[in-house]
């Protein structure tokens, strides 16, 4: 089984850098990072991820709209998406993942272990 391909889309470069480091070192993942929401679609098309972690509020793009574009894209259709957001608190999510617009989401600050668990749960299996 090859490594899972994870795309992290968040305008906060420090978050994606640290998370990429953690996932690469502690999970069986190949991580691609994109800090520009407007370039996320192109990055996803070329990387072909098994799971996308998508920030909702970004200065140059809306996570919700991006998710909709990904779902109608002929190449990316069906790619699992998990939102990462600072808009809700962890208490509100009850610690577990819930959904926004049908997509699961994780409330920031999220433990990287939870991100790993989310990958195990949602990422597409590839043999």
């Amino acid at each position: 089984m090859r490594k899972r391909r994870i795309l992290l889309v968040d305008d906060e470069a420090s978050i994606t850098r640290a998370l990429a480091m953690y996932l690469t070192e502690n999970g069986d993942c190949e991580v691609c990072v994109e800090n520009k929401g407007s370039r996320a679609l192109a990055a996803a098309r070329s990387f072909k991820p098994d799971l996308i972690f998508l920030d909702i509020v970004m200065p140059d793009a809306d996570g919700g709209a991006l998710a909709a574009e990904i779902q109608i894209d002929p190449v990316l259709k069906g790619t699992p998406i998990v939102f990462l957001t600072a808009l809700v608190s962890r208490r509100e999510t009850g610690g577990a993942t819930m959904t926004i617009g049908g997509y699961p989401f994780l409330a920031k600050p999220v433990h990287p272990e939870t991100v790993l668990a989310s990958i195990a749960e949602h990422a597409r299996e590839r043999v």
Binding site: E12, S14, I15, A18, L19, M21, Y22, E25, N26, V57, A86, L87, V88, S89, R90, R91, E92, A107, K108, P109, V110, H111, P112, E113
Partner: protein
Amino acid sequence: VAIFGLQRLTAATTAGLLAAQSVPIRAVSLSFVAMAAAVTASVLWPEALIDQEILAGGLALIPALLLAHYRGWPLVAVLLGVGLVALVIMHLSPLFFGVALRGPFLLLFVVAPYISIALGAGWFGEVRRYQAELRATQLQLIQSEKLDSVGRMAAGVAHEVKNPLMMILTGIKVLEKRVPASDGQTLLLLRDMEDAVERADRIVGGLLNYSRDRDLDLAAADVNETIERAVMLVKHDLENAHITLVSKPSPGLPKLLLDEFKMQQVFVNLVTNAIHAVEREGEISITTSLEKLTRTALLAYRKANPYAAGDRVVVIRIEDSGPGIPEEHLAKVFDPFFTTKPTGRGTGLGLSVSQQIVEMHGGTVDIANRDTGGARVTITLKVDREVAAS
């Protein structure tokens, strides 16, 4: 002579009525000046007695008419108008009918001005009450505007703070995995850092909840039990500070529709404040009682309140033996972020949140200094009839 006797009697009765209605002294003075003018005129010009009475009656009807107008009592206004017309007709009767309508009507003319004066004085009282209500509503609007700003700010702060917290937390976790298990000190440092992140996240989460939590999960509850559960949560703090808690729950209180969890939070906040005020070795007392609001008791509520005289209310009083609240702080204690506690001990949201929760329940919370020293917080909650019956 009989008329003047009657005038004195009605004047005395009116004065008594006015005093009982706690009419402002200015209104009473004006009424008595008008009455004195009418009586003096009658004495000086006895032949013009009827004219003076009609004048006094007519003029005194004006505030009564205004009262009826402002209160939206069209029927009373019409009746008063008819009275005024009748007065004029009777005054002019000798001209048209050649007969002066005196005798029993004279009594009416003597009594009418005083009834009108009483009503008019009542109008002054009404105006004063409306002004007080308006002022209180304005204050509440300012307060709710403050809360809204806090809400908006909280959402902004939450977003801006949560991202860096996430970065720090992830960084800690990366380092934790890299540090060899033998390096206990570094691992401890990283764990402390993680705890600090958790704490900051809790505070931001609290701010978010403060701005959002507007829904109540209501169920019939016993206030005494809710207080007891809240006290259990702060028992440790009470013991640590050697503070005696005197609980005087009134037996047989009717059940109230409460969000128990939120009300528990209110009592925890208030008792915690009391503990911080007392500091060490003092006393905090919690008393509950079922009361029927009298007119005088209503006047004690400084703010616009949702009660009427005769309402049954459950009153909870939390008193402490601390130093009390400086007069200049009393008006600010419910402001969000107002605190006199040292940094790290309070966010200044406790009383503000408590007030918000109690008001969501349709109740009021007031804070004052006791005559014997220390502060007293009074929570008043209206007894809901349906719950009381169940």
